[in-house]
């Protein structure tokens, strides 16, 4: 599997699927989903970015912080070189995907993007069992978070991609669970989690050592 994931993305919407996916949504958007351009994963392309509402920006920034967290975690594990075998390969592959997600959100948000927090993973990136256990927690959390946030998005442009990322996080969750030796899919339905729930869980890990401030004073902080 390539480490540079962005270059592996197929050119999309050859068949109109993205068009159909948003057919029931507003047609004002220029969004064509994710596309493989020179820069890799894009949230949209076109001469004009889709108009983002304050709600969109808020959700995108929230998702960005979760992607920052995951990308930093896998990248640190990859660089530490202490996770071997299938788990090590998974760390490299998933890390590349999470970095692609970060870049997509940064590109979409431009100057409105929140800054990357500081993380301290307290050594879990160097111990195989702790690494996998943490990966499972992060991925399950991401699935629940995207599910909770996606309905808040107001731009059809962005929601289709958010859902496609949501199911990739679910694949990652199942993958890490399989490697850890626990059931990849426990319940018939995955439930969403609210921001306060997500924030509480993240805060309790102690992995985030500095918190970004979003631009809007009304927007919740990443950790409260």
């Amino acid at each position: 599997m390539s480490a540079d994931f962005g270059l592996d993305l197929a050119v999309l919407d050859r068949d109109g699927a993205l068009e159909e996916a948003r057919a029931g949504l507003s047609r004002r958007s220029f969004f064509v989903g994710v596309a493989a351009g020179a820069g890799g994963l894009l949230l949209y392309r076109g001469t004009d970015a889709p108009a983002q509402t304050a709600a969109d920006i808020d959700v995108l920034n929230y998702a960005l912080v979760l992607e920052y967290l995951q990308a930093a975690f896998y990248t640190e594990a990859e660089q530490a070189k202490a996770i071997k075998g299938r788990a090590g390969e998974a760390a490299s592959t998933v890390g590349a995907v999470e970095r692609a997600h970060v870049k997509a959100f940064l590109d979409a948000l431009g100057s409105k993007a929140v800054k990357r927090p500081q993380f301290d993973f307290q050594g879990v990136t160097e111990e195989p069992r702790a690494f996998l256990k943490t990966a499972v927690a992060f991925e399950d959390l991401a699935v629940a978070a995207y599910k909770g946030e996606a309905p808040k998005l107001q731009t059809p442009a962005i929601i289709t991609t958010a859902l496609g990322i949501h199911t990739v996080e679910a694949r990652h969750a199942a993958w890490m669970r399989y490697l850890y030796g626990i059931r990849p899919a426990v319940n018939a339905f995955d439930e969403p989690r609210t921001r306060p729930e997500i924030n509480k869980i993240v805060r309790e890990t102690g992995f985030v050592t500095s918190t970004p401030q979003t631009r809007s004073s009304q927007a919740p902080r990443y950790t409260g």
């Binding site: 068949d15 993205l18 309905p151």
Partner: protein, 205 residues
């Protein structure tokens, strides 16, 4: 699929789609995150016509019925053991629950169930693993492709199901030694593509 976002709801007498979804107890669970945030007027959830939403839910029901039949037949005939048997047992239960949720949501608007012929795919562990991975990937693409074509209650139900389908896909791919998550973003498929893929797997016309 193209009734259009601005089409006014054309519900007749009787319960609305939302009522049916709630009757299934489904909207309630999704409401944790949904109820408070889905109220903005003119948001992403344009009101679909009842006919459009029924069509989408029937497509997703076809996916679930196909999965349900596939796993039941495989458990009876494929000679599964170990990891793969555990996978098939757990996933069969999930698909049955998904199927029931969609049947409850559709009520009398649910289409008649087709017959299935999965051929060799339910006759050996190797063929089963390959077909199961295809079927789960199809399910993910089907749900992701229809997200914009339903109202908010159906959206919330679909969101709670689709990530479980993605987990199934990654699980069987892991067992089979394949890449569990080959893309950075899962791509949607059109209704036409989904129906064609399901026919190829074993849905009879």
């Amino acid at each position: 699929m193209r009734d259009g976002p601005a089409a006014a709801p054309t519900r007749g007498n009787g319960p609305t789609r939302a009522d049916l979804l709630k009757r299934g107890g489904l909207a309630a669970a999704g409401g944790v995150a949904g109820a408070a945030v889905l109220t903005h007027a003119g948001g992403v959830f344009a009101a679909p016509s009842a006919a459009q939403e029924q069509r989408v839910l029937n497509l997703l029901l076809l996916v679930e019925r196909t999965e349900d039949a596939f796993y039941r037949q495989a458990l009876a005939q494929a000679g599964l053991s170990g990891d793969m048997q555990e996978y098939a047992e757990v996933v069969a239960d999930h698909e049955r629950a998904h199927r029931k949720a969609l049947e409850d949501a559709l009520g009398s608007a649910a289409e008649k169930e087709p017959s299935f012929d999965f051929g060799g795919a339910v006759k050996s562990p190797e063929a089963f693993a390959k077909a199961a991975a295809s079927l789960e990937d199809i399910a993910v693409a089907a749900y992701n492709g229809q997200a914009g074509n339903v109202g908010k209650d159906a959206f919330l139900l679909a969101a709670r199901i689709v990530s479980v389908e993605a987990r199934h896909a990654a699980w069987i791919r892991s067992i089979a030694g394949r890449d569990p998550a080959p893309d950075a973003v899962d791509q949607p498929k059109t209704e036409k593509q989904i129906r064609a893929a399901l026919r190829q797997i074993g849905v009879q016309a």
